[in-house]
């Protein structure tokens, strides 16, 4: 069973993503901020990380930057999910760390996200 880590501080998003991924047969683990997300990622080595950008404690950009420092982190698939504008400074730095996808939550459909996940975890 493929393992997905959700790193998201907005509980309604976290809850819905958990439900939908669970229904689709994935094992789901979750964290409310980048700091917990980073430690969970290094401990559990999920196959894919759904990563929010604006979060307390540690933002998604910093988590991604830290994660990319070792061999697991360099190869893990990451979908950055945000509601920030693409020209936001944080987003520019996020893109520098090469996520698999960068998606604006309010602009995409939930089904599109699930399709992208299936594509990355065949």
């Amino acid at each position: 069973m493929k393992k997905i880590l959700i790193v998201e501080d907005e509980l309604p998003y976290q809850k819905l993503l958990h439900d939908q991924l669970d229904v689709n047969g994935y094992e789901v683990i979750q964290a409310n901020d980048g700091k917990k997300g980073l430690s969970l990622a290094n401990k559990e080595h999920p196959d894919l990380i759904l990563l929010d950008v604006r979060m307390p404690e540690m933002d998604g950009m910093t988590m991604l930057h830290e994660l990319r420092k070792d061999s697991y982190g360099k190869s893990v698939k990451i979908i950055v999910l945000t509601n920030l504008e693409p020209n936001d400074e944080l987003i520019k730095k996020v893109i520098d760390n090469k996520p698999s996808y960068y998606l604006v939550k309010s602009d995409i459909k939930l089904t599109d996200l699930l399709d992208k996940i299936k594509e990355l975890l065949p």
Binding site: E10, L16, Q20, L84, S106, K109, L110
Partner: protein, 381 residues
């Protein structure tokens, strides 16, 4: 009469005329200098060797050096490194190619401070004439405005995006027929986010009115004791859910009715009380103390919640600011409530301050001037 040729000599003494012309020119020069010196716009003439030849008062202020330090010296001597800037490149172009140049530029002073300037460069016989306006304030306001739009759009997108995905899930999976319990749960989430969105829009409109000085107060005589009791009653359900005790204490003489905008005062107290509930610990306490002293009514709201870190306290009353701990405890706040509360209270001539120890709760002190209708009428007249 003999036909002799006479040389007629006529001498006119022009020294007086020349003196007069010189006086006129000197007068014009003095007047021009006075005009230039008192212009709001900075004005300077740079010679072909990049030495300062003329500087008015405004440019001295903008340049953050004395006239003595600048006059007769080169730009490079006065501002080391200036030759590498875009401003210098444009002065050089204006000087050498005799071109008019307009530009906006950020300039870093030797002390590390920065300022934005709007510059107009004109070629003149002595070198280059530069008019400059300090637009640092305008640039800061533009930046704040675009940051506000960016933060506001993020804040609006979040509840909208949440509702969009929940609706899609309910519709796509036909949960209403196949899993009505999940559907009901998801609909509650959508409803909550819709409420959150409406509250955010209301707050954004209030902020826009404050920024444009368009807040219209509708003062009336308000019994603040009754108003607080009503608010406590309204919020008792949420407080009970979290097992938080809310208590109102009256101190000192009888609290008089005050002349104030009832709805806005209610908004302020609701905001503070809901913060005290949302950021409290389970089984916590909230105490509201009302005390009139002379012509000031003091309202103190103290809770036993998570408290506010020292660094966050300075920014707490600014637009969209949310303390890290607040985000973890309650993800749905907009960061606008305290900004609005402060704006309203200060608009009424009052004050709001905060005392907090991290982890040991927060205490907000509101001071409201006690006004009667009579006094307000007098003020309006």
């Amino acid at each position: 009469m003999t036909n002799k040729t006479h040389i007629l000599s006529h001498t006119i003494d022009t020294s007086k005329h020349e003196n007069h012309q010189g006086t006129v020119e000197r007068n014009i020069e003095r007047k021009l200098e006075a005009i230039f010196d008192n212009m709001v716009e900075g004005c300077q003439i740079i010679g072909f060797d990049y030495r300062y030849l003329y500087l008015n008062k405004a440019i001295i202020k903008q340049g953050r050096k004395t006239k003595k330090q600048l006059m007769g010296n080169t730009m490079m001597e006065c501002y080391p490194g200036i030759e590498k800037t875009e401003v210098f490149a444009n002065i050089k172009t204006c000087m050498e190619k005799r071109l008019h140049i307009n530009m906006e530029s950020e300039f870093e002073f030797p002390d590390g401070n920065k300022g934005w300037f709007e510059l107009r460069m004109e070629p003149v016989p002595d070198g280059t004439l530069i008019f400059s306006v300090d637009i640092t304030g305008r640039k800061a306001a533009d930046k704040a405005k675009s940051e506000f739009i960016s933060v506001a759009s993020h804040a609006l997108r979040t509840p909208l995006g949440i509702s969009k995905w929940y609706l899609e899930a309910i519709r796509g999976e036909d949960y209403i027929r196949t899993a009505p319990k999940i559907a009901k749960n998801y609909l509650s989430e959508i409803y909550r986010n819709n409420e959150r969105l409406l509250a955010l829009v209301r707050n954004l409109l209030s902020i826009s009115r404050i920024d444009q000085n368009k807040i219209k107060d509708h003062p009336e005589l308000v019994n603040i004791v009754e108003l607080i009791k009503k608010i406590i009653k309204q919020m008792s359900l949420i407080a009970k859910k979290r097992d938080i005790m809310v208590e109102l204490k009256l101190k000192g003489p009888k609290v008089p009715k005050i002349f104030i905008d009832r709805l806005r005062l209610q908004e302020v107290i609701e905001n503070l009380l809901s913060n005290s509930i949302n950021y409290n610990v389970p089984h916590g306490k909230i105490e509201l103390i009302l005390e009139p002293i002379k012509d000031i009514l003091y309202l103190n709201i103290t809770d036993t919640g998570i408290g506010i870190e020292e660094e966050d306290r300075k920014k707490l009353f600014t637009k969209f600011f949310r303390a890290q701990k607040a985000i973890i405890t309650n993800t749905e706040g907009s960061g606008l409530g305290l900004y609005l509360a402060k704006s309203y209270i200060e608009g009424w001539g009052g004050k709001i301050s905060l005392k907090s120890t991290e982890g040991k709760g927060a205490s907000f002190m509101i001071e409201l001037p006690i006004r009667t209708k009579h006094k307000q009428d007098k003020q309006l007249n």
